[in-house]
């Protein structure tokens, strides 16, 4: 704890009492036998006050008196302003990771200012807690004391005979109990006279009473007196009061009772009479199964070996060249292995045999599955070939059409060339004709030619070289459309 006691002890009677009580016997000792004072004081020092949170309560304590943090009845409880109660120590635990000014009530998170917010609990609560009935913390080692909690401190520190204290011998550092204190040091080895185990003197009594195998004890069920050594076998095999089931239970008899009754029942129970036979059979079955397993494994190994050998001798027999190691689950290979002598294995018979044979498979389904697997592989191979072929044809067609297209382009160019030449020739002739005509009729033809030029600019395509005449205009347009047809 960081701070020794941040919370003021609210009328901590126990502490004050403890100090006075702790002091008293020492004084008495000092008065009566001063020579042993040193030893005694040492022994007293060893006694530790009982831990409240570890106490065992005789009955389930009232849930209103239980601290919500440690889930045990309050130990030195305090009250916060919000009227929530906790053990003093629990609060310190809970607040340990928090800084001083950030303390809150664990239940309602109300801020706790400082020491003033932590107050003592009402007297009635204290009294109720004091009156809770607890067992002595030494009840494990034999103390049977049960009383109010308020007295447990005194009991443990003063009266309990089972409280561990230091051994009275000056050179012995081991612990003994108050009750054995006057017997002197009991920490020396003795042998149990019944079972010859060596153990410490102080444990001898307990050993002889509860543990020694060679001492007589009585069966808890039938009260027969016998050695502790035989107790287990007695209970398992003989004790008439021990509850067992009928022998026929392995075949379904539900009868279960004390041994004496069961013995009577078994006289009449048919299932109990049959039970030994069933048990025999069961054992035999298990034996056989156990023997079968290694045999099955051996057969598997041999099959594998045989398949490998066959493959090595006749590599062509393998179903697929891509599989160098034979799959012995394959029906074809299996057929080869089991149905035909390897030396005279005919190549051609392989396929025919495959269709008619009954392969040594554990099930028809397995065979079908393998067949199906083979077929699937075949199909996938065919499909890849198909795509390959398709690709190749496509390439061929594309190449061919490319060439055709090129040729067509050439031809078009040639035609264009010829057309240009034709134009040139045509325009030359027209020019000649108009010049000759203009000399005879110069006036009227000038207006006509102007009109034709206007029309042609609005209608005709732009690539028309040279001036156009009246007559050739429709003719040329015809030729124009012809050219376009060819192009298409």
């Amino acid at each position: 704890m960081s701070s020794p006691s941040p919370i003021p002890p609210p009328n901590d009677r126990r502490n004050s009492r403890a100090s006075t009580n702790g002091g008293l016997p020492n004084e008495a000792d000092a008065l009566s036998e001063p020579s042993e004072l040193r030893v005694r004081r040492k022994s007293k020092c060893l006694k530790v006050p009982p831990e409240m949170s570890a106490l065992e309560y005789a009955s389930r304590p009232d849930s209103n008196l239980v601290c919500l943090i440690c889930h045990a009845p309050f130990d030195r409880p305090v009250q916060l302003l919000c009227e929530h109660y906790f053990c003093r120590e629990c609060l310190e635990h809970a607040w340990a990771p928090q800084s001083n000014n950030r303390k809150t009530c664990p239940t309602c998170r109300r801020h706790v200012e400082g020491e003033n917010d932590i107050r003592p609990v009402p007297k009635i609560i204290e009294t109720m807690l004091d009156e809770l009935v607890v067992k002595c913390p030494n009840s494990r080692t034999g103390c049977t004391w049960v009383d109010h909690r308020v007295n447990v401190h005194d009991h443990v520190m003063l009266y309990c005979e089972y409280t561990p204290i230091e051994c009275p011998a000056a050179d012995c550092r081991l612990h003994t109990t108050q009750k054995d204190f006057h017997k002197g040091c009991l920490h020396y080895t003795v042998g149990c006279e019944d079972c010859h185990t060596s153990l410490m003197k102080r444990d001898l009594e307990e050993h002889q009473r509860y543990l020694c195998l060679n001492r007589t004890t009585s069966c808890a069920l039938c009260e027969a007196v016998l050695l502790r050594l035989d107790l287990k076998t007695h209970i398992n095999n003989v004790c008439p009061k021990h509850v067992i089931s009928c022998q026929g239970t392995i075949v379904g008899c539900k009868f279960r009772s004390e041994r004496a009754d069961v013995t009577q029942h078994e006289m009449a129970c048919a299932m109990a009479t049959m039970a030994p036979h069933f048990r025999d059979q069961q054992a035999r079955l298990e034996r056989h199964e156990a023997r079968m397993e290694p045999l099955a494994r051996k057969v598997g190994i041999l099959e594998d070996g045989l398949a490998n050998i066959t493959n090595m001798l006749y590599p062509a027999n393998a179903n697929d060249a891509s599989f160098p190691v034979a799959d012995h689950l394959d029906p074809n290979d299996a057929a080869a292995d089991f149905r035909l002598p390897p030396a005279s294995f005919p190549h051609g018979a392989h396929g025919s045999d495959n269709s008619s044979n009954e392969p040594p498979f554990d099930s028809q389904v397995h065979h079908l599955l393998t067949l199906h697997e083979n077929l699937r592989e075949e199909v996938s191979r065919i499909s890849t070939t198909l795509t390959e072929v398709e690709g190749r044809t496509n390439m061929m067609i594309i190449n061919e059409s490319q060439r055709n297209k090129d040729e067509m382009l050439h031809t078009n160019a040639a035609i264009n060339n010829m057309r240009m030449q034709l134009h040139w020739l045509m325009s030359a002739t027209i020019h000649q004709r108009t010049t000759s005509a203009s000399t005879s009729t110069s006036r009227p033809s000038a207006s006509t030619s102007a009109g034709t030029t206007g029309r042609s600019t609005t209608q005709g395509p732009s690539s028309r070289p040279g001036p156009s005449g009246t007559l050739p205009a429709p003719y040329r347009r015809l030729s124009d459309s012809n050219r376009q047809d060819t192009k298409l």
Partner: protein, 152 residues
């Protein structure tokens, strides 16, 4: 010592009686417990399902909060909830350092989770669930959750 004594007391109590829908599956030691919870009302998201919770207690329990996660196995799934990640980590202020208080216990945590599921109407995972589940290497208690949703 403190932790084991308190857990021992809780265990004794839980072995006696538990609220409906909560069952203690395994508590062999005082470090890891397994509990099953069911949502008992007719919430269609969780009807008929049993979820498994794993509690991990530190030495400082109950001063320190236990680590509580949902466990996924063959028979148990992680419940759908906008605050429960696919890896079972639960975003709940009660289980965080700031929200925890030593007066809480295993039973009260289970009841809180039950009611958290009961009141949920959205069958979804938290935002960024996939990334969190893939990249989270922290223990649940080391993750700094931001508690923004006050409805649950």
């Amino acid at each position: 010592m403190f932790a084991s004594r308190r857990l021992g007391k809780e265990l004794t109590k839980m072995q006696g009686q538990l609220p409906p829908g909560i069952t203690l599956v395994e508590a062999d030691n005082l470090e890891n417990w397994l509990l099953d919870i069911q949502v008992l009302d007719a919430n269609p998201i969780y009807a008929g399902e049993t979820y498994r919770l794993k509690f991990t207690f530190s030495q400082n329990y109950p001063i320190e909060a236990p680590e509580v996660v949902f466990v996924k196995d063959d028979t148990h799934s992680i419940p759908w909830h906008p605050h429960i990640y696919t890896n079972g980590i639960i975003c709940l202020d009660l289980l965080d350092r700031s929200g925890w208080s030593p007066v809480h216990n295993v039973e009260s945590v289970c009841v809180s989770l039950q009611s958290m599921l009961t009141s949920n109407t959205r069958k979804e995972r938290p935002e960024g669930d996939e990334n969190f589940v893939r990249y989270n290497t922290q223990r649940p208690r080391d993750i700094n959750f931001v508690f923004h949703d006050n409805k649950v």
